[in-house]
């Protein structure tokens, strides 16, 4: 019988453990290994590194490339600071901006091509409000294959189908991780001198409007383990109230890709076919305008391409139907939607945590270090705002090199045997029952309450109700959840991460008593309050086992923002006179 639950536990040791083999993880592993080819670098994934993560089917381009001649690190840092409403430790953004160009060249050397113009220069497009950073990738469907080749060549030790469930720590630092096989339920304890977490967004937090649990914007395997594990290990998480919410193709729930269509003349329009936002770059302020238009008599909202020339539409189709979410083509065909004739109905996504697009992530510095020594985070789960795919690669590289250095200076930390036994008992508890509630129902209920009570606009009393409901679901999960095989066991662990993230989302949102980041943290009872809330909020696990938050000052800016630039992203709406014409 497949997926049988077996009893077993193995231990391995390594210098650097990388958890998550999507985008940041492979680059982190490569950089660590290249820095010291003798080091034992393990790359672990609950799926298969060949096709795991947000870029499973590739990507259409780089959204945030800082290429000499087109943009400067100063300009990019300024743009992201403004786009993220001022709450930004610029050092990490600036370092990214400085180091991303060599990473582009390295990806190029892996066989991932970037679009060039007739003069052989990178063909960078403007999508953001201020600068020019979007670089198309004509063979973007090959990214994962190219990365995998490099991993094999560098002899990275890849472990697929093991899901990390908890980090092991000492008083001083990280010691490793506990993992469980998703097909046999056997345990693996990895003792590691340093650990890099690159486990993606918390993408299965809100429920998509289709009601299908896996019809999420993010790869549905990104269920927030990175956030939950960091939390339970005692690391700080930053600005979780700055949710990820994205404009997507309605029902299909994948990106309509204004970043692809925008430079070619496509744009977001209302039902009358009129442009209502000046800039299609995803920000909280843009999402607020999108939300307002959806709710208004001008809604719904569409991606408009039907005014473009045939060859332009064909080119957009070609790109959108081979990379990132290629089933887009099947979806449109099924409904008879033709980009040439019809506008494409859009909607807003469910909420999630993701720093790749917003700013909700594990708190890290410019070296990708978390608040726990030896523990690193990179990619969508690390709070370097608006970091996207190239940020995952670049900050993954930074994490890999720094983690290798950390490992070189330390011996293995002591492993807490009691913690391992306690974790085994927690994980296996649902397998010891003879009946109860299946994980999919625990998950559905959690996520339905996330939609009912946490989705912005945010209301205090509703979020407090959410906390009560989550407590009841937690009681059910801890005492009555029932699984029948190892596959369901994986789902039960995901349900647990999702509930942890839901608790954190409610707690963080209640803590920041102001509105900021447009729709992402629109608290209807509070105005923006720079006097009291120009700060990060850091969430940790409190003494009582529940989330607690504190303020953390924003570090002094490296790149100054002039007063008349601060509001650039708050002026998204097309002027009334313009739309009336």
């Amino acid at each position: 019988m497949s997926d049988e639950i077996l009893d077993g536990i193995t231990q391995i040791d390594c210098d650097v453990l990388v958890i998550g083999g999507g985008t940041a993880g492979p680059m982190a592993a490569l950089k660590a290994k290249r820095k010291n080819p003798k080091a034992n670098v393990v790359l672990l994934d609950k799926a298969n590194v060949k096709r795991s993560g947000a870029i499973s089917m590739g990507m259409d381009g780089l959204n945030n490339s800082v290429i000499p001649g087109y943009a400067t690190p100063e300009q990019y840092t300024k743009e992201i600071t403004i786009a993220n409403d001022g709450i930004c430790d610029q050092a990490a953004v600036y370092r990214y901006a400085e180091e991303c160009y060599p990473i582009i060249q390295e990806l190029d050397s892996f066989g991932i091509r970037f679009q060039k113009d007739n003069n052989g220069e990178y063909d960078v497009k403007k999508v953001h409000h201020i600068g020019t950073y979007v670089l198309p990738m004509p063979n973007g469907d090959t990214v994962k294959k190219a990365l995998y080749r490099q991993l094999r060549k560098s002899r990275i030790n890849i472990i697929n189908r093991y899901m990390a469930t908890r980090l092991l720590t000492t008083e001083e630092r990280v010691a490793g991780a506990i993992c469980v096989n998703t097909r046999t339920a056997e345990f693996l304890v990895v003792r590691a001198k340093s650990v890099i977490m690159s486990m993606g967004a918390a993408g299965r937090l809100g429920l998509p409007s289709s009601g299908y649990l896996y019809g999420t914007y993010e790869n549905a395997s990104n269920s927030g383990e990175g956030y939950a594990m960091s939390y339970h290990a005692g690391a700080a998480l930053a600005n979780l109230e700055c949710y990820q919410i994205n404009p997507l193709i309605k029902d299909y729930n994948g990106p309509a890709c204004a970043y692809v269509a925008g430079p070619l003349g496509g744009y977001t329009a209302n039902a009358g076919g009129e442009r209502f936002i000046e800039c299609d770059y995803w920000s909280g302020q843009m999402m607020q305008e999108f939300h307002d238009e959806l709710q208004s008599g001008n809604g719904p909202v569409y991606l408009k391409l039907n005014h473009l020339a045939e060859e332009t539409v064909s080119e957009i189709e070609r790109v959108l139907h081979i990379v990132e979410r290629p089933t887009r083509g099947h979806f449109h065909a099924g409904r008879g939607t033709d980009y040439r004739k019809d506008m494409i109905e859009m909607h807003i996504s469910e909420i999630g945590f993701c720093s790749g697009h917003s700013a909700s992530g594990v708190y890290v510095d410019e070296n990708a270090r978390t608040t726990i020594p030896g523990l690193y985070a990179a990619g969508d789960m690390a709070n370097v705002p608006h970091n996207y795919m190239l940020g995952a690669f670049t900050n993954g590289a930074i994490a890999g090199e720094d983690a290798l250095d950390f490992s070189a200076d330390v011996d293995f930390a002591e492993i807490d045997k009691d913690a391992i036994e306690a974790e085994r008992a927690r994980v296996l508890a649902p397998t010891k029952r003879t009946d109860g509630i299946p994980p999919n129902q625990i998950e559905y209920k959690t996520r339905r309450f996330v939609n009912d009570y946490l989705q912005p606009p945010k209301v205090t009393a509703k979020m407090q109700l959410a906390q009560q409901r989550f407590e009841e679901v937690r009681d059910d999960m801890e005492n009555h959840m029932y699984v029948r095989d190892s596959h369901e066991l994986m789902r039960s662990l995901e349900a647990s991460s999702i509930l942890d993230c839901a608790d954190m989302a409610a707690s963080a949102s209640l803590y920041r008593t102001e509105s900021r980041w447009g729709l992402y943290h629109n608290r209807v009872e509070y105005q923006r309050d720079d006097e009291n809330w120009f700060c990060h909020t850091l969430l940790t696990k409190g003494e009582d086992g529940k989330p607690t938050s504190r303020k953390e000052p924003v570090k002094p800016y490296i790149v100054e923002i002039a007063d008349d630039e601060k509001d650039a992203y708050n002026k998204q709406r097309v002027k009334a006179t313009a739309t009336a014409e």
């Binding site: 497949s2 997926d3 799926a47 298969n48 060949k50 096709r51 795991s52 993560g53 499973s56 089917m57 697929n160 189908r161 998703t182 097909r183 998509p208 289709s210 009601g211 299908y212 649990l213 896996y214 019809g215 999420t216 790869n219 549905a220 395997s221 029902d251 299909y252 729930n253 979410r325 290629p326 089933t327 099947h330 979806f331 099924g334 409904r335 009946d435 299946p438 029932y482 596959h487 994986m490 789902r491």
Partner: protein
């Protein structure tokens, strides 16, 4: 209390005639990010891949990586 079975139509469809699971191929099972595919026995004794769990992100590695073109990813009914 026993669990009920709720029927659902699954998005990933495998053409049994093209599937070479009999020869030991498990490519689609290996690449699926959500691990929802498995190999099963057909009534005539041959093997084929099939979608065991209705937990699909309709992402397409199974279809793209299948060496014989046996796999088709459809849009899950609830959102198609």
């Amino acid at each position: 209390m026993p669990l009920a079975h709720a029927a659902s139509t699954v998005p990933v469809v495998v053409n049994d005639d093209l599937c070479i699971a009999d020869k030991g191929c498990t490519v689609c099972v290996e690449v699926c990010p959500l691990d929802v595919l498995r190999i099963t026995d057909l009534l005539d004794g041959r093997k084929t891949a099939h979608m065991k769990y209705d937990e699909c992100w309709y992402c397409m590695p199974c279809e793209a990586d299948c060496p014989t073109g046996a796999v088709t990813v459809n849009i899950p009914y609830l959102l198609k």
